[in-house]
């Protein structure tokens, strides 16, 4: 199970790619999929690598990303 997860609001994303640039683990990619406004949206290309650090959300200019971290077992 991945340590983190990014929930992307596809209608808000404008595909600027700042999250892709910022992610230290190469989790996010710009997908060929379009949203309703015609932007190629960001998506999790390698979800298993996500640690839930939240750096992508810190850089997102459209507040389109919500980041979650897995609850550690036994806590």
């Amino acid at each position: 199970m991945p340590k983190g997860m990014v929930v992307i609001d596809k209608d808000r994303c404008k595909g600027c790619g700042l999250c892709v640039e910022t992610c230290p683990f190469g989790v996010l990619v710009i997908s060929p999929e379009f949203n309703r406004y015609g932007y190629n949206v960001a998506t999790m290309g390698a979800p298993e690598k996500c640690t839930g650090c939240g750096m992508c959300a810190q850089m997102c200019p459209d507040a389109a990303l919500d980041v979650y971290r897995a609850v550690k077992e036994g806590v």
């Binding site: 199970m1 983190g4 997860m5 929930v7 609001d9 596809k10 209608d11 808000r12 404008k14 595909g15 600027c16 790619g17 700042l18 640039e21 910022t22 406004y37 932007y39 839930g52 650090c53 939240g54 750096m55 959300a57 810190q58 850089m59 997102c60 200019p61 459209d62 507040a63 990303l65 919500d66 980041v67 979650y68 971290r69 897995a70 609850v71």
Partner: protein, 256 residues
């Protein structure tokens, strides 16, 4: 209109969620615009201080003109450049309110220079967020007072010539000379570390107002990738390598 996802997935805890002070409206900024990051940081500061119900923003003219639609708090729309004057009136009439202005360089540093300087000199107890992207973004990329020497814009196609158009205006340095202001700082948002620093500066600017300390201005050096005609990621590098040469970061005035 998209609905904000608030359901936390099973087995996960939130690390970062969209600030509650932001409305559901999509930002009207261009893709990769630093305005979006700065708007979000202001919303985070309002959330963190729990002042949403008594905050009044003053929206500028420029790229952030629709700011009143993005926040879940009261707003006034000022005439071009007059946000500091409007904020002064609101704050003096009702000192319990938390009043902030959010202005670009075409608004605060060009047409509104006088209002800004005098509000700072009077030490009005307001918070000013100044987004310096060195260009007139909304009108199509004309030269601003803060445009760097040699920088190509629509109105300076050969690059800004300092012999005819002067030098970039360093508003923060100017205001730091005055006795009125409490806190003048310059920040940037081109990487995560600087976003965190800008966040702290904006929080401090709001805290100063809560504590009645007086005029606080946070200048944020930003990129306008659309009018620079470069991809957003290069906009970040452009701020780091070009803009910061003329606009060095750091606290210019801190009075406790």
């Amino acid at each position: 209109m998209s609905v904000v996802e608030t359901k936390v997935p099973a087995g996960f805890v939130p690390v970062y969620t969209r600030p509650k002070s932001l409305s559901d409206k999509r930002f009207t900024y261009c893709p990769g615009c630093h305005h979006g990051i700065i708007t979000r940081l202001v919303a985070e500061a309002i959330d963190e201080l729990g002042i949403q119900e008594r905050t009044v923003g003053v929206a500028p003219v420029g790229c952030a003109v629709f700011l009143y639609e993005f926040f879940r708090c009261d707003f006034a729309q000022a005439a071009h450049g007059r946000a500091c004057a409007v904020a002064t009136g609101i704050k003096r009439a009702n000192p319990d309110l938390i009043v902030f202005t959010y202005q670009g360089d075409g608004d605060l540093a060009a047409i509104g220079t006088a209002e800004t300087i005098h509000a700072a000199n009077r030490g009005e107890n307001i918070t000013v967020i100044f987004v310096n992207n060195q260009i007139y973004g909304m009108t199509g990329g004309e030269m601003a007072p803060t445009t760097l020497p040699g920088m190509r814009t629509v109105t300076t196609p050969e690059g800004r010539d300092v012999r005819t158009t002067g030098y970039p205006l360093r508003i923060s340095e100017m205001l730091a000379q005055l006795d009125g202001p409490t806190y003048i700082t310059r920040q940037a948002v081109f990487d995560v570390r600087h976003v965190q620093m800008a966040r702290k500066a904006i929080l401090k600017a709001f805290r100063n107002q809560l504590e009645g300390k007086g005029f606080s201005l946070v200048e944020v050096v930003a990129a306008c990738p659309t009018n620079l005609r470069i991809p957003p990621a290069e906009g970040n590098r452009w701020v780091k390598e070009q803009a910061l040469k003329y606009f060095p970061l750091g606290d210019l005035k801190v009075r406790d």
